[in-house]
């Protein structure tokens, strides 16, 4: 990284991908400060705070709650810091065929994956505009492009994230803020742990690299897009999928 001091807020920072992103930044840039946005479970995030003492902190954040975002940002400002890199990583999937999908399975996935990106981006935007620098990096998914069976809710949410990314990128381009998305393919996190080994083997055959991605594969893409030198890349959706699509 360059002379700029990076202050990151990573949402969903108690999960495999969120902690990997935070860890990557903390390892690669000794000057950065990382806020780990978590809602309920915070054990992994707290372990990271212990490991990187004085360089990161846990912030309570329900990404679907507008007031929650305001409170989180207020507490960061009270620390004397301004978020200049937001990684919208939080979200979950709840796969079912649409014919049987209850309304709350639709709403919950749209809320946590798409509405959260709206709320988070809006919450940090004014501060970034005043600094005339900002990086918003949205973790979308290959599902947005592939739209697999059973993921009407998730695919729609992530496709929405990609479209939001492109549109917002244009709105804030003049202000030194870039907005990009990353579309991970199959990444080896707890989400894949439950997969049947035979199914995993079959899926790996469809991946040109013949392996699942590591969380670090995604983290390094986030790190790249956050860099001050990546200033002319905006509105992009970067696939990190081992060549699937």
């Amino acid at each position: 990284m360059n002379d700029l001091t990076y202050c990151l807020l990573v949402t969903g920072a108690n999960g495999g991908l969120g902690t990997a992103i935070a860890r990557y930044f903390l390892s690669k840039d000794e000057h950065c400060y990382v806020y780990l946005g978590v809602r309920a479970n915070r054990d992994q995030a707290e372990a990271l705070v212990e490991e990187f003492e004085g360089r990161c902190a846990v912030v309570t954040l329900d990404v679907t709650d507008q007031q929650g975002w305001k409170n989180a940002l207020k507490s960061i400002i009270a620390d004397g810091r301004n978020v200049n890199v937001l990684v919208n990583n939080a979200g979950y999937h709840n796969d079912q065929l649409m014919a049987m999908m209850p309304r709350d399975a639709w709403d919950g996935v749209i809320d946590s994956n798409l509405n959260s990106v709206f709320l988070g981006s809006q919450a940090v935007m004014r501060g970034m505009m005043q600094q005339r620098f900002g990086r918003i990096i949205n973790i979308a998914s290959l599902s947005a492009i592939m739209a697999p069976i059973g993921q009407t809710n998730y695919a729609a949410a992530k496709a929405g994230v990609m479209a939001l990314t492109q549109s917002l990128a244009k709105e804030v381009a003049r202000m030194g803020i870039t907005v990009n998305a990353i579309c991970p393919g199959y990444v080896q996190t707890s989400a894949l742990d439950d997969m049947d080994p035979e199914q995993a083997k079959a899926i790996k055959k469809t991946i040109p690299m013949r392996r699942f991605g590591k969380a670090e594969d995604v983290a390094c893409a986030v790190f790249f897009l956050a860099n001050e030198e990546a200033s002319y890349i905006t509105g992009a959706s970067l696939k990190v999928d081992g060549g699937i699509f």
């Binding site: 004014r126 505009m129 709105e171 804030v172 003049r174 202000m175």
Partner: protein, 92 residues
């Protein structure tokens, strides 16, 4: 309104610097429209930038879109709003 004469050059400076306008401060009249025909040619994104710049340089927070429409007419209307403080930034 007292103070507005002193305020207007600063408002114009902010306009030129923050929006990277291709005109000088002297070329902008007090009542030069910011948008529309025979204006400085600002668009909605410029307006958003200006709202942030006004808060940063003059401490005036404009959080209401209707109020913004009224304030962001010309350097003079911006100066008047700054002079009036927060009272004029909320639409009824």
């Amino acid at each position: 309104m007292s103070g507005i004469i002193e305020l207007l050059p600063k408002v114009k400076e902010v306009l030129v610097a923050e929006l990277m306008l291709d005109v000088t401060v002297d070329e902008i009249g007090d009542e030069t429209p910011l948008m529309g025909p025979d204006s400085l040619g600002l668009d909605s994104v410029d307006a958003l930038q200006l709202i942030v710049a006004i808060e940063k340089h003059f401490g005036l927070k404009i959080s209401d879109a209707e109020a913004a429409k009224g304030i962001l007419q010309s350097p003079k209307t911006i100066g008047e709003a700054i002079n009036a403080g927060g009272d004029s930034t909320k639409s009824s």
